[in-house]
Amino acid sequence: MILLDTREFDHPIPLEMAVEAFKNLRNDEVIHMVHRREPLPLFEILSKNGGRYLSSMREEGIWDIYITRSPDLDLEACRV
């Protein structure tokens, strides 16, 4: 699991960091992104480029996003 905590970065740097990490992601790896809001534009980029994601709000202002390139990896099982 690759941890990517982007909460302190100015918008839209977190999106760029996540896409850069996604480009280098192996099929069996998962990125755990922690962000202060739900990054909707990122989801479109991931979906259109063979990625999958699971997004949930931990508490107000903290979102956990799990990203993979694997078509069958269970992201629910990756939740911390």
């Binding site: 999106l15 760029e16 480009k23 202060r36 534009p41 980029i45 259109k48």
Partner: protein, 421 residues
């Protein structure tokens, strides 16, 4: 700003850039006017001064603000402007030709150009408002969208008063209400359109872009009601010929001072202290707003022409500073977002779309031009120097925007796409 951005709803990159690229093209003749005719531009109501004023507020500022509306509407409203390619072209063409006609009308004092400008600009603005305003209704309660509504209504009223005044210029017959119309035209254009749209955008982007504490909910909920109320009452008071219209200026001044002070404090107390040129533009812009409000308030007490000129120039520079800062942030993001969504593995990182040294140079030129123009109110030679600095700044802006467009097209033509394992 981009929390809801979807490629399917976003307008094509070319539409937004078409508006943005026109900004330096109008900035160039404006700078030339400042350089060649500084004394005339510093003379209130001189036709060259009015030509410059409309090149600035229509050709530079409204052009970029309407271009940004095409983008913002799809992001914030969730209801994108329909047929953005065709509608963008119509608005852009009418606004460009209308601004040129109006500036030309003042410059050569040609009555027929006032009529042509009225038709073109009236059409551009009415078309824009009827296109965007209906999308902002229907259960929408977002504070920024409320501000956009007020800004668009103000823009339409500004245009209406402008057309009435243009007809006076066309046949050189100024009625007894001409000064009241002018004062209302300025208030609705500067505060209702420019100021309100910038405040509405600030409520959304300052917190999101720069990780600051949010503006207070009370302020976001009520600011636009206060502006709208003060503008309506001021306009009625002016047109009815009653006294004390300046009282509503004081209400607006107090609100703008509060907005400026809060924004500066939010930016100063931000968590992450990384150098970012767009923050420099915001800080300088909001400081210029403070100067504009203080100079205008002082001019109400002392009624000096110089203070009124400082207020107007500082307010225009406030708007331009925020616009330049936002362009520097929006254009790299849009280039990156459109390419990344299309799957280009080698989409340039945002900091490479407009390199940092170019962004910093743009800020340096803008800040120097701003200082020269403001000091130039008292030393006209410096005002002309502001024209040279302005021309250099607009040339660099054009080069930066063109560079971003070229990079986008080059990646589209030669880039490598994601491979799916």
């Amino acid at each position: 700003m981009y929390s809801g951005l979807s490629l399917d709803q976003a307008p094509p990159l070319g539409i937004v850039l078409r508006f943005f690229l026109a900004v330096p093209l109008f900035g160039a003749p404006l700078s030339l006017l400042i350089l060649i005719h500084p004394a005339e531009l510093l003379t209130p109501l001189h036709p060259y001064s009015l030509a410059a004023l409309h090149l600035m507020f229509l050709g530079v500022m409204s052009m970029s603000m309407i271009g940004a509306l095409f983008q913002m509407q799809s992001v914030l409203g969730g209801k994108p402007i329909p047929s953005p390619l065709g509608n963008g072209l119509i608005v852009h063409t009418l606004l460009s030709l209308g601004t040129l006609a109006l500036a030309g009308a003042f410059f050569v004092s040609a009555p027929v150009l006032f009529v042509i400008a009225s038709v073109l600009l009236g059409s551009a603005i009415v078309y824009t408002v009827q296109l965007v305003l209906p999308l902002l209704f229907g259960g929408i309660t977002h504070d920024t969208l409320r501000g956009m509504r007020l800004a668009l209504v103000s823009l339409a009223l500004t245009a209406l008063l402008g057309i009435v005044m243009a007809s006076s210029y066309a046949d050189a017959s100024f009625g007894p209400r001409h000064e009241a119309l002018r004062a209302s035209h300025y208030s609705l254009g500067l505060i209702g359109w420019v100021g309100t749209l910038i405040i509405a955008v600030a409520f959304q982007v300052v917190e999101m872009f720069y990780v600051t504490a949010p503006y207070s909910a009370w302020c976001k909920r009520n600011a636009f009601w206060i502006i709208a109320g003060a503008l309506v009452l001021k306009t009625v008071t002016l047109l009815a010929g009653w006294e004390y219209a300046w009282g509503f200026d004081l209400v607006i001044a107090a609100l703008l001072l509060g907005f400026a002070a809060t924004t500066l404090r939010r930016l100063r107390e931000r968590k992450r202290r990384v150098s970012d040129v767009s923050i420099w533009f915001w800080n300088l812009g909001v400081s210029l707003l403070l100067l504009a409000v203080l100079a205008h308030t002082a001019s109400l007490l002392g009624a000096t022409d110089a203070l009124e000129r400082v207020a107007l120039i500082a307010f225009a520079l406030f708007g331009l500073s925020v616009i330049l800062g936002m362009m520097g942030k929006i254009v790299p993001f849009l280039v990156w977002f459109h390419l990344s969504s299309a799957g280009y593995l080698d989409a340039p990182i945002m900091s490479n779309v407009i390199p940092a040294f170019r962004a910093k140079l743009l800020f340096g030129l803008f800040a120097s031009a701003a200082a020269a123009l403001l000091l130039g109110v008292f030393l006209p030679a410096l005002f002309a120097a502001g024209g040279i600095l302005g021309a250099l700044m607009f040339a660099l802006l054009f080069s930066n925007l063109l560079g971003a467009l070229r990079l986008y097209r080059h990646t589209l033509a030669h880039g490598t796409r994601f491979t799916q394992e």
